[in-house]
């Protein structure tokens, strides 16, 4: 097989570490780390400068059967519109495709969502209570939706996911930049007692 100099003995470990890294990025609520995640995707160079070589084709991202226009659009949506998550890898297999310079990874995992009613920034949907209104008693007013982001999450039950990654073989040479050629992520089962509407 053509591994292009990759260390084959380390491949399983590197593959698993990389997939865990992707899941950890999905779980990271810190917006400032978004660029670190973005840099893993092919064709997404947030630091590109004029005159630089043409970027690689953009990574294909298909999430729940829906294609995202590019990695930035997907990550922005994920960060702004999905509550905090917690992924746990349950199975992983991969094949290095000879002659293609690519690796196909097939992972299954479970994911649970923060069901505390707060988004990733810790903001909830509560509205200020006018003084004297029912139940306010004047002690609970103006709570607003600026709850502390560090409040404890309330994890819901687990959903099942299936995730496929097509990676560049450079990942085995400790080069993570732009190695994700494609990402498909599909929720395959859901618990009926979750507060999250899928």
């Amino acid at each position: 097989m053509n591994y292009s100099g990759a260390n084959t003995r380390q491949q399983p470990h590197i593959t698993e570490t990389f997939v865990q890294k992707v899941l950890a990025h999905l779980d990271d609520a810190d917006e400032t780390k978004l660029n670190n995640f973005l840099q893993l995707f092919s064709g997404s160079n947030p630091n590109a400068v004029v005159g630089a070589p043409a970027p690689a084709p953009p990574a294909r991202i298909v999430f729940n059967g829906q294609r995202s226009t590019d990695a930035m659009a997907f990550l922005t949506l994920w960060n702004q519109q999905v509550v905090q998550t917690q992924h746990t890898l349950t199975a992983l297999d991969y094949h290095v495709i000879p002659g293609s310079g690519t690796v196909v990874c097939n992972a299954t995992a479970k994911v649970r969502f923060d069901e505390s009613g707060r988004d990733k920034r810790g903001q909830d949907a509560s509205v200020a209570t006018p003084p004297g209104s029912a139940g306010s008693n004047g002690n609970n007013r103006s709570r607003g939706n600026n709850n502390n982001a560090r409040q404890r999450q309330s994890w819901g039950p687990y959903f099942g996911i299936s995730m496929q990654l097509v990676l560049d073989e450079r990942v085995y040479r400790n080069d993570m930049h732009g190695v994700i050629h494609s990402l498909t992520y599909t929720m395959v089962y859901k618990p009926e007692d979750s507060l999250i509407d899928l």
Binding site: P12, E16, R60, V62, N64, G65, Q66, R67, L77, Q81, V82, V83, L89, A91, L92, D93, H95, I97, P98, G99, S100, G101, T102, V104, N106, T108, K110, E115, S116, R118, D119, D124, A125, S126, S133, A134, G135, S136, N137, N140, R143, N145, P157, F159, G160, S162, S182, T184, T186, M187, V188, Y189, K190, P191, E192, S194, L195, I196, D197, L198
Partner: protein, 598 residues
């Protein structure tokens, strides 16, 4: 539970309090051992069944009390060892089958229906103590009978089809001090949106704690004229208990739109994705034909030509058990046929084992195929059970197909684990990593499994080459992309196609792409791509899967039946092309002329 009158309610209550044991019959458990079953019930229902005894195909046992028996009955339909468990209470004097209490049930049913406004979807159970019918029946003769009345009423409500769409319940003016007697409201109407508990005597802040997160859609709660509303923590506690509450006592406490944004996942599931129309057609045909061959008795002979000396195949077992609240989740899965061959690098750390469990080239792949159970997929009979994504894979000038779904294991592997004495490297490997899964009869039973399968496919010389094939086998669960609802059928204008549809499998077809074939795949193709003579109503077409539309198109072109009859034929044949063609051939002579395209 059924009640004859107020006295029998009290008697039933007394019987419960005495802890009278209840006999339970268990059906569909035989794929596992009796101890497996008892452990399952103990683990999930938290009930220890005693004096188990096998009577034919049924296991009889006792639950310590009626309440605990009811806890066991909640697991009716749970997947266990490949079957759906069925529990029933037998020989129970308070059971529904003893013939008593029917009149009380009917009485309560009439009370419920008389208080239901179907247009407003509102069930008004307010001021029940003032209801002349209830008073006359003696339902409020004593606190004891009153306490038993609400659970009985809600139980009857849960069985009444007309009340399944209730969105609002009024329980005002009922002298309630807490929710002890109406706790089951959350099970009876879990999708409730509006609840009124005004003018009761609820005083404690934690009185509603048992309902925490139980009403997932409750938007409005009215609690005025209850002492608890004066508590300084009242508002925040109600918001905690009801996470989607937007209006409390006529005051907005949450922004409903923002609530929806937080609790609604933004990326709605779509059953199919294809990068382009051509891939939709090609990959659907590939998958359909591949699985036909995979399920056939000569799996290897038909499929091996698609693999080259560099092709790779591996199986990966995800043995994790989904939560019991996932629809139809098997809580006692068996992976004995897969674990000895599984290349799950999340579980197997030995590099040598991982290398050995990767089958490369036709010979090893053939062996690997024969080490897996025979199976039956239901791609055409139950297309809602499958989801698929196909994306281009430019690095191999091909594409990657990902299929999610399920299969039934129909026979044990052709090659058992013990038979690996041929010296084949693939057969002999990983022995030290085999655990009890490999020899334990309970873990080697045949059952239904969910799976994800990923193929990297290269079209070549009018056929396909499979560069990579990863099969992930996991515990069976219902899927996320479909609800267990039948496909709607258009109203027929003539009698259905006469003649029975002969049962039979899908004839194995050759694997070959059909460039230019007139087989549109719906999800990725506009409706206009259907043959002009196959005009389906837009709402019907929108509900069909690409595979169903593919089948309709093939049938239409083959039979020349009009759209309506083509649909009926497909429906009657269980969406099986071969069965449909046989049915058509058997009954074509009896069809009216207007059944065909004019």
């Amino acid at each position: 539970m059924s009640f004859h009158n107020a006295n029998s309610i009290a008697a039933a209550a007394a019987a419960q309090q005495q802890g009278q044991r209840v006999r339970i019959a268990v059906h569909n458990w035989q794929n596992a051992t009796m101890q497996d079953l008892l452990n399952f019930v103990s683990r999930n229902a938290r009930v220890g069944l005693t004096e188990p005894k096998v009577e034919g195909a049924v296991l009889m046992a006792y639950a310590p009390s009626r309440d605990q028996a009811m806890d066991v009955l909640k697991w009716n339909g749970a997947n266990f060892a490949g079957n759906k468990l069925r529990f029933e209470i037998v020989g129970d004097p308070n059971g529904p089958n003893n013939g008593s209490g029917g009149s009380t049930v009917e009485f309560l049913r009439q009370v419920l229906l008389s208080r239901y406004d179907p247009q407003a979807r509102m069930l008004n159970l307010g001021s029940l103590a003032q209801d002349p019918m209830m008073v006359q029946k003696g339902m409020f003769n004593s606190p004891s009978t009153q306490a038993r009345m609400f659970p009985a009423l809600l139980k009857v409500a849960s069985r009444e089809p007309q009340l399944q769409s209730v969105q609002s319940v009024n329980l005002a003016d009922n002298g309630l001090r807490d929710i002890t007697t109406i706790g089951s409201l959350a099970q009876t109407f879990p999708d409730l949106r509006n609840l009124c508990l005004a003018n009761n005597q609820i005083g404690r802040l934690n009185a509603l704690e048992a309902w925490k997160n139980k009403f997932k859609h409750l938007r409005e709660l009215l609690m005025t004229n209850n002492q608890v509303t004066g508590n300084s923590m009242y508002r925040s506690e109600m918001m905690r208990i009801f996470p989607k509450l937007a209006i409390l006592d006529n005051v907005m406490v949450r922004d409903a739109q923002r609530l929806d944004a937080i609790f609604t996942f933004p990326l709605k599931l779509q059953q199919f994705h294809f990068d382009n129309d051509q891939l939709a057609q090609t990959s659907t045909q590939f998958v359909t034909n591949f699985l036909n061959c995979w399920d056939s008795p000569n799996r290897c002979a038909q499929l091996l030509p698609l693999y080259t000396p560099q092709s790779q195949f591996s199986v990966c077992a995800d043995t994790s058990v989904p939560p019991s609240t996932a629809r139809d989740a098997d809580q006692n899965p068996a992976f004995g046929f897969y674990v000895p061959h599984s290349r799950n690098i999340n579980k197997v750390s030995s590099e040598k084992t991982l290398e050995q469990r990767l089958a490369t080239g036709q010979e090893q792949i053939a062996t690997a195929f024969r080490q897996l159970p025979a199976s039956r997929h239901a791609l055409q009979q139950d297309p809602q059970g499958y989801a698929m994504q196909t994306i281009e894979y430019p690095q191999v000038n091909g594409f990657m197909v990902v299929l999610h779904g399920y299969f039934e294991e129909t026979a044990k592997p052709e090659l058992e684990q013990q038979s690996s004495s041929s010296g084949n490297k693939y057969n002999n490997r990983g022995r030290r990593n085999n655990n009890s899964h490999s020899n334990n009869p309970a873990s080697n039973r045949l059952s239904k499994k969910s799976f994800d399968r990923t193929w990297v496919v290269v079209p070549m010389n009018g056929s396909f080459i499979i560069a990579s094939d990863i099969l992930v086998v996991r515990t069976y669960t219902g899927n996320t992309w479909s609800e267990p609802a039948p496909v709607p059928v258009p109203t027929p204008v003539a009698a259905p196609v006469p003649g029975g549809i002969a049962p039979g499998g899908i004839a194995p077809g050759g694997i070959a792409p059909v460039p230019g074939a007139n087989v549109p795949i719906a999800a990725a193709i506009p409706a206009g791509a259907l043959p002009p003579t196959l005009q389906l109503p837009p709402d019907v077409a929108a509900r069909l899967t690409p595979i169903q539309l593919d089948l309709l198109t093939k049938l239409h072109l083959q039979t020349k039946l009009n759209a309506e009859y083509t649909y009926m034929l497909a429906e009657q044949s269980g969406w099986n092309y071969d069965n449909a063609v046989k049915g058509f051939q058997a009954s074509a002579g009896n069809l009216p002329p207007n059944a065909f395209v004019q």
